[in-house]
Each structure stands twice: as structure tokens, then as C-alpha cells.
Symmetry: C2
């Protein structure tokens, strides 16, 4: 048997019948079947442990070593999804998922994604699917309007935007644009002198993107933050760092500020940072991957004040705008710098609209060449729900986090460690104030393990300013107040058990 020894050559090709992998009626049958499977999964999702309880390597022993030689029935594969895959899933869609930042979803985005898959257009340039490019331009301007971004970031103004996969790509692309602009002035012989800036709270992907772009690791400055400023970066320290670098003959290149850091949702002060960036002609990028979405509500919009003096902004609707992975919006003030750094012009893609410069060719705004029609997802979300519901969705999550914050404050054994701004609560169990920090950390590590190993709730931790914190991130799409209340009860129960043990 071919499937046993992978000696697929021994079988006669003639033994294979007519093969039509996209027969519309077979497609219809299977797709309807999987729709019910998925709807049932969402319906029953609370019956699964949130955090997968399998051991490393669990799947390897369950699956054959080779792909089968002959086709297998759809029903068997679906059965194996239930039997082999689901136990190994950490259920991000569970209403009891409070880890990392939840990745939010919606029926509208799902059907938009299905259409995107259906068309399977490879929209590297305008001609390869005009609708894919033009709808992307429309929705990215729509979202810019919802965020009250200045016209300088919009196609209807002098800028523009693009859908990337992740923040990493968005940062990498703008970094390359900034880098190439700088090198034109200082010359490539000074490549090793390019310096970039962030804080010790900037997402780890920033340093990685910088390294990818060839910035020397020793030239990546990480400005320390403190609890006094709620872990937002100090413009003064940034200015000093830049001045020190300039004095040493270095070339300050790029600043990445964050609105809503991953550890604690700290907010860097954009206006003051823009002052520094503008004073030294440094590219100023704002990473608002998570909290940017909240800025569609007027009560949060002020966290983006100063954005009009930034060079670029990234925000991931897959985090908090119900859009499924992967969808990161990048807006830039100077699309021409992006295109200059990232464009390619092979003969086999040449075409009249591109040559006439009357169209946007998105391959020149990103790392790769091929790209999917992801704008459909955002279009479906914005139209299906409208701005009103999207604002309401943000507010509901924030309200639930506020409720959890209230629970924590009501129990003197616990403490809030960073003021809550959005839908993340950073807290810890600290029954005896002023007790040994190592002991407190160990206690909280135990509590986290205890909670997660029940499978009833999943949350994660961070360590900031030397303090180990539990992170309770509200926002999974199916989460309701009752889930937050139950989670708190479980956490308290864990505390009870652990404190009794002590």
C-alpha cells in the first residue's frame, strides 16, 4: 500500500478515475455540512476546556506517517477533526477566553471571508482584480473616517492605506520606506549608523522587524518606562536618547509609539512624541493594533490626538473589530515612499493601467506579491453592523472589564496593578501587603496554573516593572457578563484553595 511506505509510484496512473475537485454540487454539499459543524461548534463551545490540556507530541502518534494514496470520505475527515483536532485546540472563540488579547469575530466577517476564499483572486495589481484593490481603498478610507484620521492619511486626501497581515509586516514596510529615504541622504556607507526607538513596552515584533530590515541589534533603543507613568514612554527620555545618538554621529531613523501596549495597554503620548520626531526628522509610526479600534468611540478618540503629525499608523481589526485573522490596517502619509521602497516591475506583470499610473498596485505596498481580497471582510462587518453597533461592541467589552475591575477591588486579598483604560485588567493576588515579592510572584503563578488547568477559564500573565501580573483581557466575541462573573468566582476559589494550603 502506497499509504504505508510512501512508495506512491508503484500504483498505475490509469487506475485513477475522473477527478473534479471543484464540482459545484459536491462543493455545495460539503460546505453546507461544514456550516452546520461550525454553527454547532460555536453553540457548544463552552463544553470544551478553553486551554487545551494535551501534551506535546499528542497528535503525531494519532496520525499516519504519510498522506493516503487513495481519497478518504469527507465524513471520516470531519470525524477526525472532532476526535483529533478539537482536543488539541486552545479555544480562542470560547466566551471564557481572557488570555493575550482576544481575537474577535462575527458572522459578517465569516461570510466576507468565505467570499474572499471563493474568488481566490491574487490581487497583486489593479488589473488582476480591480474590485479587490478598489474595495480595499474604500474600506480603509471608511475606517479612517470612523477614527477621524486627518485627510493626510486618506485616499480621499493625500495619503492612503493598505491591508497587511499583521503589525509586523506593517512596521517592516514602513521601516523600509523610512530606511531607504534616510539612506538616500546619508549614503549606504552609513547603514550601520541607523538607530530606531521604542520603549521597553513596545511589542516584541518591533525589534524583530528592525532586525529583518538590517538595523543592527545594538542600534535598537528601548527606552525604559516606569509604573509612575503607567508604563508609557517619556518624551524627554526619548529626546535625550536621540540627542545622544546624534552627538555620537548616529542617524536617528524611526520611532514606534504604542497606543495600548500588549502587557498593560499603556498609551504613549503621541503629541509630545510627535514633537520629538518632527524636531529630528525621524519617521514616526504609531502601533495601535489593539486599542486603536476603541478610538471609533468619541470617548476614546483623544488617545489618537497627535496622530496628524505621525507618518504612519497601524491597527488590527482582527483584534477588536470582529474581523477574524489576519487583518491589519496600515495608513501612511506618503504612499510614494512606500512604493519607492517596495515596488517591483517584472515584464510578466506589466499592463496598461499600471503604466498609466492611474491605479494603485498593492503589491508595491507590502512584502509579498500575491494577496487575498481581505477587504470583503471589513466591508461586510462595517455594513452589517454599522458604526453604532461597532461602538456599542467596544463599550460593552470595556463595561465588562470595568465590572471585573470592581470585583478585584472588592476583595482585599487582590490588587489592581495598573489603571484600567480599555478592556484589560492587570491584577494580582497579594493577601499580605508588603510581603516578599518572590513569594507573591510564586503565589500568582500558582493561581494562574490552578485557574487554567481547570479548563474553565484561560488567562495569561505579564511582568512589568519587575512585577508579575495576571492579565484578564475581556473581549472574546461570545463573552457575556455571566462569563466574567463566573471567571471571577473561579479565580477567588483558586485563591481560597491556595491560601488555605499556605
Amino acid at each position: 500500500m502506497g499509504s504505508l511506505d510512501s512508495n506512491y509510484d508503484t500504483e498505475s496512473p490509469a487506475s485513477v478515475g475522473q477527478f473534479n475537485p471543484l464540482d459545484p454540487e459536491e462543493f455545495r454539499k460539503q460546505a453546507h455540512c461544514i456550516v452546520d459543524f461550525i454553527a454547532d461548534y460555536y453553540k457548544n463551545i463552552e463544553s470544551y476546556p478553553v486551554l487545551s490540556q494535551v501534551d506535546p507530541g499528542y497528535l503525531h502518534s494519532r496520525l499516519p506517517k504519510n498522506a493516503p494514496y487513495r481519497s478518504e470520505p469527507f465524513e471520516s475527515i470531519l470525524k477526525d477533526v472532532q476526535k483529533d483536532i478539537i482536543p488539541g485546540m486552545t479555544h480562542w472563540m470560547s466566551p471564557n477566553f481572557f488570555a493575550y488579547f482576544p481575537a474577535t469575530v462575527s458572522s459578517a466577517a465569516f461570510v466576507g471571508e468565505m467570499l474572499c476564499t471563493c474568488f481566490n483572486s491574487v490581487g497583486f495589481n489593479w488589473l488582476a482584480s480591480p474590485a479587490a484593490t478598489e474595495l480595499e481603498m474604500v474600506v480603509i478610507d471608511w475606517l479612517a473616517n470612523m477614527l477621524k484620521l486627518p485627510k493626510s492619511f486618506m485616499f480621499s486626501g493625500t495619503g492612503g492605506g493598505v491591508l497587511q497581515g499583521t503589525t509586523s509586516e506593517a512596521i517592516l514596510c514602513t521601516l523600509i520606506a523610512a530606511r531607504d529615504r534616510a539612506l538616500e541622504i546619508v549614503g549606504v556607507k552609513n547603514f550601520n549608523k541607523l538607530v530606531v526607538y521604542g520603549s521597553d513596552q513596545t511589542h516584541s515584533t518591533y525589534a524583530k522587524a528592525c532586525k529583518l530590515a538590517g538595523i543592527l541589534p545594538c542600534n535598537i533603543r528601548s527606552i525604559p518606562t516606569t509604573a509612575d507613568s503607567n508604563f508609557s514612554v517619556s518624551p524627554l527620555l526619548l529626546r535625550r536618547a536621540i540627542e545622544a545618538d546624534k552627538a555620537a554621529g548616529m542617524v536617528p531613523l524611526y520611532i514606534c509609539a504604542t497606543v495600548g501596549t500588549t502587557s498593560t495597554t499603556a498609551i504613549d503620548p503621541l503629541s509630545s512624541l510627535a514633537d520629538v520626531a518632527n524636531d529630528y526628522g525621524v519617521w514616526f509610526h504609531v502601533d495601535a493594533a489593539y486599542a486603536g479600534s476603541a478610538c471609533i468611540c468619541p470617548e476614546f478618540r483623544h488617545y489618537l490626538d497627535g496622530i496628524e503629525r505621525a507618518d504612519s499608523l497601524s491597527l488590527s481589526p482582527h483584534k477588536w473589530l470582529l474581523s477574524y485573522l489576519d487583518c491589519c490596517c496600515l495608513w501612511v502619509k506618503s504612499p510614494s515612499l512606500l512604493v519607492k521602497a517596495l515596488s517591483t516591475d517584472p515584464e510578466y506583470l506589466k499592463n496598461q493601467p499600471s503604466e498609466s499610473k492611474s491605479v494603485v498596485d498593492y503589491k508595491d505596498w507590502q512584502v509579498g506579491t500575491g494577496r487575498r481580497f481581505k477587504a470583503l471582510r471589513l466591508w461586510f462587518v462595517m455594513r452589517s453592523y454599522g458604526v453604532a453597533n461597532l461602538q456599542s461592541h467596544i463599550r460593552t467589552d470595556v463595561q465588562m472589564a470595568k465590572m471585573f475591575e470592581g470585583f478585584v477591588k472588592s476583595d482585599p486579598r487582590f490588587e489592581i496593578l495598573v489603571p484600567r483604560v480599555f478592556s484589560l485588567v492587570c491584577f494580582r493576588l497579594n493577601p499580605i501587603s508588603g510581603s516578599d515579592p518572590t513569594g507573591t510572584e510564586a503565589l500568582n503563578r500558582k493561581l494562574l496554573d490552578w485557574v487554567n488547568s481547570t479548563g474553565r477559564v484561560y488567562m495569561t500573565h505579564t511582568k512589568v516593572g519587575g512585577i508579575y501580573m495576571l492579565r484578564f483581557a475581556v473581549g472574546a466575541t461570545l463573552t457575556e457578563k455571566r462569563h466574567v462573573s463566573s471567571a471571577w468566582k473561579l479565580i477567588k476559589e483558586g485563591a481560597d484553595v491556595l491560601l488555605k494550603e499556605d
Copy 2:
């Protein structure tokens, strides 16, 4: 109205009712509805012009300037897909699509993709969804076995693989691994001396990836190819280029060979190139994005001979293995080099399995942090069809291309310009042999325009060795012999019309 002036703040938040964007029954209803929409689209796809006939900016005028404030009914949005989006699509799924390389699909991959979307797990590390990581390791080994890759590229051996989005990312990641390894030896002060090699037929994304990684454009060597060698690169010329660079004090870093170039499916001689690469300790990458898939058939496997001496291999199942975008497999011999160059270790992602080094954390194998559960798609494809049907699918496409080649050869007004190897035919109309090359090019440009503007067929062109060629790429999933025959009839009809005009 908020939707007119985007003044979304005036509306009272209290006016918004209960909002549940993932109600399982609403999800079920909408998803079933879109399944039928998609099945009907595939069924009726021949009724649409293959190449979209819209003008630049067509969509802008049709859509509102802002997202709606209130939700809109699902049915209206779907109606607008039909009315506004479909006319702007270039229908990659059409059986009459013969442009670029077709992007192939299947019911199995579609349902796999639906499940991937459903789970929406953000698999940055093992713990975030063990099944996502482990199934990826399984299917990438399965495909390696189908391709008879050596154990040195497999998890079951000493290497491993990962699913990237596109070839660009695969090349970028391996380039960074190679770069960092080299810089450890020669020191960062020699960054500007790193040199990379490809041919003038290497995909345009290669030079872009090199520039992203900080390789100076003047250090990207493009070895010229000629028609004599069917546009494959000469190992001798490569060796000379490397020797010249070494003599000039440069540091040869990375060679990218191609199995199946985009213009003409030229095949670089891997074994001889490996000799050169190994002699100089240069990282040797093989880009088999398109033609690699054919190597699951024993009659094509020899084009990968020599792969055992490469450092890395990339292949995109979204091109020819029925997998929808985006899915590029990357295999490497030394995962540790990749991880060393790309790993991050922020506190908020720390966890016991990662620290025990007993698991793979795929965020350290790619550009970004977040990633989707794409392995489901390949798993569904391999199991649903089995190796037998996948081989048959490749062979059928090659047979149809052979048939088209026969048509071209049978008409003395046309000529084949490059020997056909896989499913791409490069040809031109050249009624009077030896006639003025500019005239011949103009005639073929006209013919291409004539054919594509009918909307009945879409094909593209290239220019290699100074010769303008028409590319007829067989392989869209729904294409049958009758479509190839009709396309040829249409091309001949175009030739008749144009030659009469002359």
C-alpha cells in the same frame, strides 16, 4: 445622518439594542446562504468576462463615502456583491483563465479554510493551539514525503518545515537566517559586502526580499540567461560571479535557484548549482513555487535532483495543489538557524512547554507573530483526494498544455518559443519568419489585447531574451479540454482578424 457626514458622535449610544455578532443561528443562516451563492457562482462562472472590463475608479463612484451608522440587511450587501463587486472581478476561478499561473482550489481546501476561520486560533506558539502547530508539522512532513525530500528536510529527520503566506516571506526568512549566520563570522562591519545571486529569470520578489533584508541593491547579482539553455542559469557563470566577488573582498551569501520560473518555467540545474554553493559555503535556496507541485509525480521528480544539497526549499500549494491562497511551504535543513534569527521571547508569551524546548513555536519561523491554522487546508486536500488524485490532477493539466502546444504547432503562422515542460506554453504569432521584430511584437500585443478584450479568455505575456511571448498557462481548476480548444479557436480567430487588417 451619521452616514452622510461621518459625524457618528451625535447619535445616542443608548439607541443601540442588544448586539450579538456571533449568534450561532444567525451565523448558520447567513453561512448557508453564502454557500449557495458561492456554489452558484462556480456553476455560472463562465457567464462572466474573465478579465474585468471596468475602468479605474469604477467602484469609488458607486459606493458611499462613509460606513453606514446603522446596520444594513445581509441581503442588500449580497445584492451589492453581485451588482458592484463581481463586474470588477478578474475571475481567477474561471475555466477560461490562462493568465500568470492559475491559483488552484478545491472543495476540500475550501472547507478546510472554513474550519481554520472558524477556530480563529492565533497560533504564535505551541500552547496557543497545540493542534495548529502539530498538524502543520504533520502535513509538511507528508508533503515532503510525497516529494521524496531527504530526511534532512523533515521533522521526522533532522530538519523541518513551516507554512508561510508567500514565497517572498519564505525567501526573506531564510535570507535573514543566512545573513545572521554570515555576519557572525565576518562581523557586522561587513554588512555592505554581503552579495546574493539569482538569474535574470528569478522572480522579482527575490530582489525585493534581498532589499528588505538590507542587502544593497548593487550587491544583488542577476546572472544573465539565454535561449540556448532555455533560460536556466549557468553554473559556470555563477561560479565566475562568486569568484569575482570573492576576489574583490565581497562576501557571497545566498543563491536562489528556481524550478519553474514565472516567465517560461525554466529549470535551474540544482545539482551543479549545489556544487557551486557548497564550494563557497553559500546558502542555497530553491524556489519551486509553481513547478515543485509537479514533482509529486515520479516523471517530474528528477527536476528536484540535487535538493539534498540545498539549505532550503519553498513551494506554494496555492499555485498547483488545489489549496487556495495563501499557502507556501518552506522546508529548511537547519531550523535552529531560522529560530536564532527570528525568535522573540516577550514575557507575556512565556510558558512552560516553550521553556522546556519540547515544542515548536512557529512565531520563530516567520516574519510576524500571529498566524492562522492553515494546515487544515492541506490536510483536507491530501486526505480528501489522496496522492493518486493529486498526481492525476497535475498530469491532466500537463496533458491539456501539451494539447494546446499541438494546436500551436499545427498552425504555421504560430511558433512555440520555449520547449514546454509543465503546463505553460510560450508562443507567438509570427506569420512571416524573419520579419521585423518590432512588428512581430506589436502584432502579438494586438493579438493579446484582442483576445483579452473579448472577455472570453484571459492570458498574459512575458518578454525573455528580448522576445515578446504570449503565455498560455493551463491549470485553473475548472478548466477542461473543451476550454483549451475554444481558447485556441479564439486565438486563431484573433490572428485571422489582425492579419486581414494588416
